[in-house]
């Protein structure tokens, strides 16, 4: 007989309890009054001698109950030989080795560990196994595919694969772990599609499992059946790692011309052992470093250390942590862009009754841009240079014929003309600009006031106002406007209408540019538009549409695709060439404005443009979060994790236990033992009752 829980057999020692209870003379709770106890000495209950054991039958029954219960709890069963083989079957496996080559793997010793793990994984493969090696950072690349593996000589497979991966070094990219795992799972699916017979599917993930790894997509991913992921983490020798990030100033609030102080975020890893660091400008002699205190797992935003006069710092370096890979950040001070807006008219600058007064004051210089509104009177010529530098041309009065041609040329070249109809007589000029002869307008004075009844928020000009918080135009009252017939303007699109149904704002495409017509002026005589909160945003929106404002975000991360066209206001006509930080020059194809070869941190320069456009490429800040992911994070996201490999002996033991458990469950001897114990208890109760009655009868007879 065997036992499933033999430890419970210790419970049989409890058989001593009934014996002791029988030996102890029962100390009665009965009280006896006595005249005086002055001559009595208190005595403890005494144990009778062994020879004075009373009620042997009862004692035996009680001992039997204890033994039966202990036996039942130890779950006895009759052993039978195991039929099945205890060892798992060995079949061919399909293994994808997924190796992390992100920037955090540049830490000391990690890549060597990773190679060792790859080597170990390769050594574990059998002749029937199929293997694929993928490396990943922000993207996933194949080093050895299933097909290549199968084509290799069986004896050379491991060595060849290891040689290939040994040539690779970790890059500077961030870690897209989620995408990499999904790609690895998908590679099984592709192999299936190709009709390759895959056995057990296993993904061996060799990574530093850093906290900053992105796990997008894993949450909802449905893993193919039979796939299991085995994580082989590599661990750094020294845990402290602090990283720096440049917080590029994207706000327009700063005053133009002021030299912005770069703000730097210094973050420290959660498992760090140090918290004091130093930040200094590299390559700037005489620049004093600044101390930064960052507790483990936290980050601090600090201003960059001060620079000596007239010095331009572009490289900030953090010192004091264990790993250098993320300690350098490249900083470019933003340059304000000069935008020119022309006003065609003779109006004096300081007359508040005229539209120009408000236009001149609408564009305040900011750190990103400096808009210069220039008036060109009818006597002055609109030179091609003026027009080439202008992004927007605003007209409010009748235009001489000489200007008509210039404006049409300007619009054909992609310029935007905003015609503000301050009176009905300018309708002819509008018609001429729009190629609509005989275009007329009627002067309308609203009996009370007119409102904008319809606004096309889908148009880029009004799109910024689409939000419910900003789309209220009812505060703007129009006293006068010019009624025009939009259908007479070819291709005209009404962007806003008055509540009377008359067009208020029209867009007529002309060549590459456009003509915008506002049928009411913004000066107080016509409307409240100039004094409303919508005026400046509207003009900025028009200027934006006309290509006047460019993105000045000149910071990118490794792997980002950079749209060079957005970095320069100038038109790109020739093919672009970009100089990388290491000095290599990349020539883009003609017409190609997107640059994606941002694989090194540093300052990139588009050398083919005058002046040269520069942008900084930095390491992704997430790479600095090098603390290990929580152990169960992947499991929580539904990744089928593989249990730790257990030794064969342990497997046999586990199997044997399972077999025993099944046998015991089938035989259920404990039930019979418990039943017997209950029967014995009943018998004991009966015997005890009988003995008590007999004693009572004897006592009665004696008394």
């Amino acid at each position: 007989m065997s036992f499933l829980a033999p430890l419970f057999l210790i419970g049989t020692l409890a058989v001593a309890l009934p014996v002791v209870f029988h030996l102890v003379r029962r100390s009665s709770k009965e009280h006896m009054p006595f005249s005086s106890i002055m001559f009595l000495q208190p005595a403890p209950p005494r144990v009778t001698k062994r020879s004075r054991l009373e009620h042997i039958l009862l004692l035996l029954l009680r001992c039997l109950v204890v033994c039966l219960l202990a036996l039942a709890f130890s779950r006895p069963f009759f052993q039978r030989p195991m039929t099945a083989s205890p060892l798992p079957e060995a079949t061919g496996r399909a293994v994808v080795v997924l190796v992390d080559t992100s920037a955090s793997m540049k830490r000391e010793g990690l890549w060597a560990q990773a190679l060792d793990r790859v080597d170990a994984a390769l050594k574990q493969t059998g002749p029937g196994d199929q293997l694929e090696v993928l490396i990943f950072d922000r993207r996933v690349r194949t080093v050895v595919s299933f097909e290549q593996w199968n084509q290799m000589d069986i004896g050379q497979r491991a060595a060849l694969t290891l040689a290939r991966i040994s040539d690779i070094k970790p890059g500077w990219s961030s870690t897209q772990l989620g995408g990499a795992l999904i790609a690895a799972a998908e590679s099984f699916a592709e192999a299936d599609k190709e009709g390759r017979n895959l056995g057990r599917r296993q993904i061996i993930l060799i990574s530093d499992m850093q906290e900053g790894a992105r796990l997008d997509g894993l949450q909802g991913y449905e893993w193919p059946r039979g796939t299991e992921v085995q994580v082989e983490p590599v661990e750094p020798k020294r845990p402290t790692n602090a990283g720096v990030q440049w917080l590029a100033a994207n706000d327009d609030s700063a005053n133009a011309g002021t030299n912005l102080v770069a703000r730097i975020r210094v973050s420290n890893s959660a498992n760090a052992t140090r918290e004091q660091f130093k930040l200094h400008w590299a390559d700037i002699p005489g620049a004093a470093p600044s101390d930064v205190y960052v507790p483990p797992g936290q980050s601090r935003i600090v201003p960059a250390p001060p620079l000596p006069a007239n010095a331009i710092g572009e490289r900030l370096v953090l010192t004091g942590d264990d790993d250098d890979f993320d300690n350098t950040v490249y900083v470019l001070q933003p340059q304000a862009e000069h935008v020119s807006v022309l006003f065609a008219g003779d109006e004096p600058e300081n007359d508040p009754a005229q539209p120009f007064y408000y236009l001149k004051r609408a564009f305040q210089p900011t750190s990103r841009e400096i808009v210069e509104v220039t008036a060109r009177g009818s006597s002055a010529e609109l030179t091609p240079t003026d027009l080439a530098g202008a992004r927007l041309l605003v007209a409010a009065n009748n235009l001489p014929d000489s200007r008509m041609t210039a404006l049409q040329t300007f619009m054909a070249g992609g310029g935007t003309v905003l015609f503000v109809m301050t009176n009905a007589s300018v309708a002819g000029d509008v018609g001429r600009l729009a190629d609509a002869d005989g275009f007329t307008a009627d002067e309308i004075t609203a009996p009370n006031y007119a409102l904008l009844g319809m606004v096309d928020f889908n148009h880029p000009i009004f799109a910024p106002f689409a939000d419910a918080r900003f789309n209220d135009f009812t505060k703007i009252h129009f006293w006068k406007y010019r009624r025009v017939d939009a259908s007479k303007l070819p291709g005209a699109r009404v962007l806003a209408k008055f509540d009377s149904g008359d067009p208020a704002f029209l867009e007529i495409p002309r060549g590459n540019g456009r003509l915008l017509v506002l049928t009411s002026g913004w000066q107080p005589a016509d409307s409240q538009l100039a004094v409303s909160t919508k005026f400046v945003p509207l003009l900025c929106s028009i200027l934006d549409l006309s290509g006047g404002i460019h993105s000045t975000l000149a910071q990118f991360h490794i792997g980002d695709e950079v749209d060079l066209a957005s970095l320069t206001p100038a038109a790109i006509t020739s093919s672009l060439s970009v100089r990388k930080p290491d000095g290599a020059v990349v020539q883009l194809a003609a017409g190609e404005t997107r640059f994606s070869d941002t694989d090194l941190p540093g300052i990139y320069a588009v050398t083919s443009l005058q002046p040269a456009v520069r942008f900084a490429v930095n390491l992704d800040g997430a790479e600095s979060r090098t603390a290990m992911l929580p152990a169960d994070e992947l499991q929580r996201l539904g990744v089928p994790m593989k249990a730790r490999e257990i030794a064969v002996s342990a497997q046999i033991e586990q199997k044997r236990r399972l077999h025993d458990s099944e046998l015991e469950d089938r035989q259920k001897l404990w039930r019979w033992l418990t039943l017997t114990a209950l029967m014995v208890l009943l018998g004991e109760t009966f015997v005890a009752g009988w003995l008590t009655r007999r004693t009572a009868v004897q006592t009665g007879a004696q008394s």
Binding site: S28, M38, L40, Q41
Partner: protein, 320 residues
């Protein structure tokens, strides 16, 4: 150990004297009325006395009177005749010149009884019997009941109705906790100026030092003192077999006692206590009789008279 042997001899003598079975105390206690019980005992005692060689005794020896014809020759004192060659008749005092004060302990310990009657019942019956007997003889009887303080006091009188009052007082149940002889003795000494017979009935369960001191004080007053030391048979032998919690009826203290193991020590300590009391009594000239509640009351009465007689002899011997 003469003291211990005396009751046995007395029993035999009494049995031989009466010639009829003595009344068992258990049977006697079935009579509810105390006075009736006393009467039964005394009458039974008188009944047997007619055949007894000791009959004719009275409580108080008075004087010798010269024989004159017609006197009962039974009262001739032959020993005096042998010495003086003259006939003398012993004359006994019939008048109420004997004052007897019965001092009955009514502490809680007296309420203990392992047999049919408690020590208190036995003591009351004994006191009632003595009172009735003395009353019949025309003596004045007083009563003092006490525990740790005096509960009742009746001065010694001989008048109609006094005996009844005395019986009523005796029938009150014991109430006190401890036994304290000092207070009642002080009261007696202060109240009773004339020489009296003081009969103390108690179980004397108290520290021997205090008891001895109290008895000394009593004896020093010049009264004739007689002590009935009353004990239950179970108290003498601790005749229990079950180990139980023993509760002291006076103090309420509880201790676990296994009689089998505790018996030997208990009997030794009790005997030592009794012996000390006895020695003290002998030293102080106090008549000492130990009674157990299973002893027929006639014998107790007999003990009383015998003690009186022996005391009389001692006095005569001392006088002669």
């Amino acid at each position: 150990m003469r003291g211990l042997a005396e009751p046995i001899q007395s029993t035999r003598a009494a049995s031989a004297a009466s010639g009829r079975p003595l009344i068992d105390p258990a049977t006697l206690m079935s009579i509810k009325n105390l006075e009736l019980r006393a009467r039964v005992v005394v009458e039974g005692f008188w009944h047997g006395l007619h055949r007894s060689p000791y009959h004719g005794f009275s409580v108080e020896f008075s004087e010798y009177r010269q024989y004159s014809p017609g006197d009962d020759p039974r009262y001739l004192d032959w020993k005096l005749y042998a010495r003086s060659d003259r006939y003398y008749i012993k004359k006994f005092e019939d008048e109420t010149n004997l004052r007897c004060h019965l001092m009955v302990d009514q502490s809680r310990s007296m309420s203990y009884g392992s047999l049919a009657c408690t020590k208190a019942q036995y003591a009351n019956t004994l006191a009632a019997t003595l009172a009735y007997f003395l009353s019949l003889q025309g003596d004045a009887v007083g009563l003092l009941t006490f525990d740790e303080r005096i509960r009742d006091y009746l001065p010694a009188r001989h008048r109609p109705g006094h005996l009844r009052h005395l019986m009523i007082r005796l029938e009150q149940p014991p109430a006190g906790n401890a036994t304290d002889l000092a207070a009642p003795l002080h009261r007696i000494v202060r109240t009773v100026k004339k020489r009296s017979l003081l009969v103390l009935i108690s179980d004397l369960l108290g520290p021997i030092g205090t008891l001895e001191k109290d008895l000394t004080a009593l004896a020093a007053c010049g009264h004739e003192v007689m002590l009935f030391h009353l004990l239950d048979p179970a108290e003498l032998t601790l005749s229990f077999d079950k180990a139980v919690m023993f509760r002291d009826v006076e103090t309420g203290r509880q201790v676990f006692i296994d009689p089998v193991t505790a018996r030997k020590g208990y009997v030794q300590r009790l005997e030592a206590h009794n012996l000390n009391v006895q020695i003290a009594c002998r030293r102080l000239g106090i008549g000492y009789r130990r009674l157990t509640t299973d002893r027929p009351l006639e014998l107790a009465l007999f003990d009383f008279l015998r003690e009186r007689m022996q005391r009389g002899k001692r006095i005569r011997r001392r006088a002669g």
